[in-house]
Symmetry: C2
Subunit: 331 residues, 2 copies
């Protein structure tokens, strides 16, 4: 590998002169700069980030820690953040944890070992750290240095919409990793509209979301008195419920309305495009980066949690209950 030293000796210059020339330092004459840059290009010099880290004390690296990259939510977050940080001259270092706290600790240590300038952490929680960090995708949205959507509000809005279009028998299905806030939003919307909560219609299961959705969908929709709407804790559950309704030959949205949560790209391409609650990914990444950079330039400060309102996206999987075949309405 070509080093600055090599260029210096070839050009009979001092390494400091070469270093400054390459970085356009004003002290160096234009003639020398030109000569050095051209020669560096010719011999294929590539600066060594490791070597420059030491005197500078930073390497413009930022870590992103997510639980599972296969989830479209996190790969979208990565894509957004990588783009935005790239524009600022930073390199994004991605780690995944498989939702495992032991792994989380390990990747935190790796990040520290890499002396990253900052950390963006999704899903996991951490109290404090010697370096700037932001949390995203959090259960609780109070406190500091967090960016998250208002899950409670999103679910409340979704369920309110269902109630407004005439639904009363509304089920809630999700997996154990879904934030409880969504369930609370569901409960509150029912309560505020004077609908009694039926605990048998609130289903939280451990397992693969699509399977939970499919199995519980089959079960609920086979009941004699079945729900007219199913609010899903996330889109994957929604995909499973959709499949169960199609399997049972129950028409969507005429006989059952389904709402998902997250607005994954796939939802709009499903056989029946899913009504869902959109997480504004671009805003989330934008605010996360904003806060992180403020903390990086202002290390002592804490920034109050940024709460973003999710948005109800109405597609084809929901309809007013008046459209339903009357025989299916038992309530």
């Amino acid at each position: 590998m070509i080093t600055i030293k090599r260029i210096a000796s070839d050009l009979k210059l001092d390494i400091s002169t070469v270093s400054r020339a390459l970085r356009d330092d004003e002290k160096i004459s234009e003639k020398t700069k030109k000569k050095v840059k051209e020669y560096a290009k010719k011999v294929g010099y590539i600066p060594n980030i490791f070597a420059s880290y030491l005197p500078k004390g930073k390497a413009s690296l930022i870590s992103l820690i997510v639980p599972d990259l296969k989830h479209p939510y996190y790969s979208e977050i990565f894509t957004q953040i990588e783009k935005k940080l790239g524009d600022k001259g930073y390199i994004l270092q991605l780690f995944t944890t498989s939702f495992n706290e032991k792994n989380f600790e390990k990747v935190i240590e790796k990040s520290l070992s890499l002396r990253v300038s900052g950390l963006i952490i999704a899903y996991h929680k951490i109290e404090d750290l010697d370096i700037p960090f932001v949390l995203i995708d959090q259960e609780k949205i109070d406190g500091y240095d967090k960016v998250s959507i208002d899950n409670f509000y999103g679910a409340y809005e979704g369920v309110s919409y269902l109630i407004n279009i005439g639904h009363k028998k509304i089920a809630y299905i999700t997996d154990i990793y879904t934030t409880k806030e969504r369930e609370y939003g569901y409960r509150k919307a029912l309560k505020d509209n004077g609908i009694e909560i039926n605990e048998n219609l609130i289903i939280v299961r451990n397992g693969r979301c699509e399977e939970i959705g499919y199995n519980e969908g089959l079960r609920l929709l086979s009941m004699k008195i079945r729900p007219t709407a199913i609010f899903c804790g996330n889109d994957f559950v929604g995909i499973g419920v959709l499949k169960s309704a199609i399997k049972l030959n129950i028409k969507i949205p005429d006989q059952v309305s389904i709402i998902g949560f997250d607005d994954l790209p796939i939802t709009s391409y499903l056989p029946i495009p899913l009504t869902t609650i959109r997480q504004p990914m671009e805003e989330i990444s934008k605010f996360a980066i904003d806060i992180l950079f403020k903390k990086m330039n202002n290390s002592e400060k804490k920034f109050p949690a940024k709460i973003i309102k999710p948005q109800l996206i109405i597609r084809d999987s929901t309809a007013p209950i008046y459209n339903n075949e009357k025989k299916y309405i038992r309530n």
Copy 2:
């Protein structure tokens, strides 16, 4: 940040002794090792990868370059490789290119700047590089230092299966980024079975795969004499075609058979689980890493391309043509 120097002075030892103690060097007495390690832990010492890179000349970093992480194929590849490299003590540095060659050049340079020990490159091509690399997800599978599936074989197998169960009018739909090999496999299978190729049934479009599948599916399935099977260049196209058939109320698989390609996780959770050609992701990542490490330990050698056979996964979207309602068979 705590450094080795600090530990040395606190413990009244030389930095070299501390360094060796932390790395379990045999020259150091057990007593000193214990004392150093305990103190290091107590004060929260974290080794500086940048500092140790210099004398060692390596940092155990490997780059993975993929075009688009939002595609489940690439996020699965990342997940597999991150896991396997983590076990070997390497850190995986991920870059995406958005299918853009300019971006690709940039991330190659960033990788070199990070002095990675090796590169795993998906989709993009590169002739040679001063550091070890492997290509995956490649169009052409001859040559060296590549791991890829046999796309031709996969398509040939899929289409042969359709022919074996009685289909003759088989369409092919895909987007422009799909490797041509799949189309060739489709053509060869038809040819080898004495079925004339109808160029109107071979559709390659630019755009979002699901939309291509949906729009072209609608078009093909609305024809008076419509195909009895549609072979899709990838699963996303398949998802679109599935939607179009459901929209037109054409029964799958009774009235039309659909095959995808890749076996994305979602395919088995679709309302009609998709028959598809599986890319064995684990094998691909395993071989990629094997070749990369062989090259890293044996820099001059080149390794012949590793070709992996994909596997036909039969689900619910395909059926023998004999099951089809006779009135729809015109051929």
